[in-house]
Subunit: 333 residues, 2 copies
């Protein structure tokens, strides 16, 4: 933030160079530096020998990773932080390195190469954008973001069951399908319908077959805005989806979901939900920029915006629940 004393250009300089942090972490994941360190390579020389990289380049990269908070350095030796050991060592069951693929895919980044133009236009409406029917970026999403979803799927399932039994679930834009699957794994008779583009559903079906919900997973291929949704659902999941759209489209979709649900049914909305100020917490607030860069009307909607959308679509009430660092909205039909 600003200093009370003498003006300081440090934040400007660091922000203009912030892209280097992204590139450094992407490079380190690509080179699998974290696994090498986890396996016992401690010095730049040892890591370089294991990865076929220069000692100088490895030292500079590992120093920067230390500065950025991903490693600890003592003398000339590097060690993984607990978070890096959990998420960036390929041998860890919670390895998240694949997340870099989706976040770095050109479909998600190209719109932000010209922020000024996005701000002029108010969004990204280029033909072939991420909301084009069947866009391949959603297969990449389903594959590479699955490990991140696994971290929170249990808590989401717990919330789904908090207010009573679940029997029939509609998982809208299900992607990897892991949220619906986690809900179904909590009960023996729960049936899930995963809705997404056909190539994405192959990923969800793979995950369902490998789960305790195998045999209770069916799919609905097509656009959530157009395809026949079915009926009789007591739970609907909207994970990382409403935020891709503006309020009018969200309401249109919510009316369709309302019509497909049983009275008393619930909708769980997961996504990046900032405070009403829209400037905090940072991760949630900054997500709006990604939506400006990759969708025509998507946004990091605050809770009040979702509450209005659900009310306008006929839902009786909504509530926001904090699950660890992320937020989920429960809405009752």
């Amino acid at each position: 933030m600003s200093t009370a004393a003498r003006p300081n250009p440090g934040l400007i300089f660091d922000t203009l160079n912030a892209y280097q942090r992204t590139e450094a972490l992407r490079g380190a994941i690509e080179l699998d530096v974290f696994t090498a360190i986890g396996e016992g390579a401690r010095t730049a020389e040892a890591i370089g020998l294991r990865r076929g990289t220069s000692e100088r380049g490895t030292r500079i990269l590992c120093d920067c990773l230390t500065t950025m908070g991903f490693l600890e350095k003592t003398g000339g030796e590097y060690r993984l932080t607990p978070d890096s050991a959990a998420f960036l060592d390929r041998r860890s069951p919670t390895y998240l390195g694949t997340v870099a693929r989706f976040i770095g895919t050109s479909a998600m980044t190209e719109g932000l190469r010209d922020v000024a133009e996005r701000v002029r236009a108010g969004g990204y409406s280029t033909e072939g954008g991420t909301l084009t029917p069947g866009h391949p970026v959603w297969v990449e999403f389903a594959r590479s973001m699955a490990p991140l979803a696994r971290l929170s799927a249990g808590a989401v399932a717990e919330l789904a069951w908090r207010d009573g039994a679940v029997t029939k679930v509609l998982d809208v834009a299900c992607g990897h399908g892991l949220y619906g699957i986690a809900v179904a794994e909590r009960g023996e008779n729960v049936e899930v319908a995963g809705l997404d583009w056909a190539p994405v559903l192959e990923v969800a079906e793979e995950n369902a077959r490998a789960s305790k919900a195998a045999g209770r997973y069916r799919t609905i291929a097509g656009s959530a805005f157009e395809v026949e949704l079915g009926a009789g659902y007591d739970l609907a999941l909207l994970t990382n989806f409403l935020q891709l759209h503006g309020p009018a489209d969200c309401e249109r979709l919510l009316r369709r979901i309302h019509a497909a649900m049983l009275p008393g049914g619930r909708v769980l909305t997961l996504g990046f939900i900032p405070d009403e100020t829209r400037v905090h917490p940072p991760t949630q607030a900054m997500f709006a920029l990604m939506m400006l860069g990759s969708t025509p009307e998507g946004d990091a909607h605050p809770y009040s915006a979702y509450e209005s959308m659900f009310a306008n679509a006929g839902f009786t009430r909504s509530e926001m629940v904090e699950i660890g660092p992320s937020r989920t909205i429960v809405s009752w039909r």
Copy 2:
């Protein structure tokens, strides 16, 4: 940093998205959003009207700028922070928006688009790189980084005069020439020789003509490693230059400078100088990555490395001086 408690993937996610901060600030500077706010446009609508941008895009951009620490937001109204008013409002005498041009120029960024390859190779040695004789990026540097140099040139000149009178200055890779000019402005008889590529020297000469040192500025066109340096200097300036090179090249240059200087003369070395750990302070430490991405052997050398280079080149002693947030090394011939 890592959490003692439950592992948290937040830092990974935020770092993979850090490039968006760079793009957002670049976009805001290009659209001159800060000047619009400084002139009194307070809401997204008002800023949008003044700049021809959409209300939605302007609101998302300004929210993100607030999150990033460049604006303050109250209700729907934005205000400049003191730092943004000083450095990002085009009407300010210390406007730094031009800095985005050099930092964002492809010559500086392209090498970091593939960090893994830089780490393998140990540097950027591609033909046409920034160290190619006469590379146009240094004219861009001289033009766009001048406002940043003006902020510290006075303090550098003060340090140059701290230990006695100055009469003849060699400003190596002088760029905009502002450091040498500031030294010369402190004395009536000081003569400065600015050394750089010929097209860069046009910028330095422009700045000299507009200064109190007009008429006392001459130029030496060519490579600092090869051109005739002259003799009789009691001060040499090495600003943001040694860090572009490895220790061997630095020593070779320092021997040439040593030979051109009077006994008792001093060299001031300015640059990004991290602690001996090479991982702190962040701005200084991260600079090594830019050197990995744009030079074959450049680095954010720590003080001990410079001390050795100067000693090996025949200088009697060195000392590090903190000037505000940056560091300067004084070395005695």
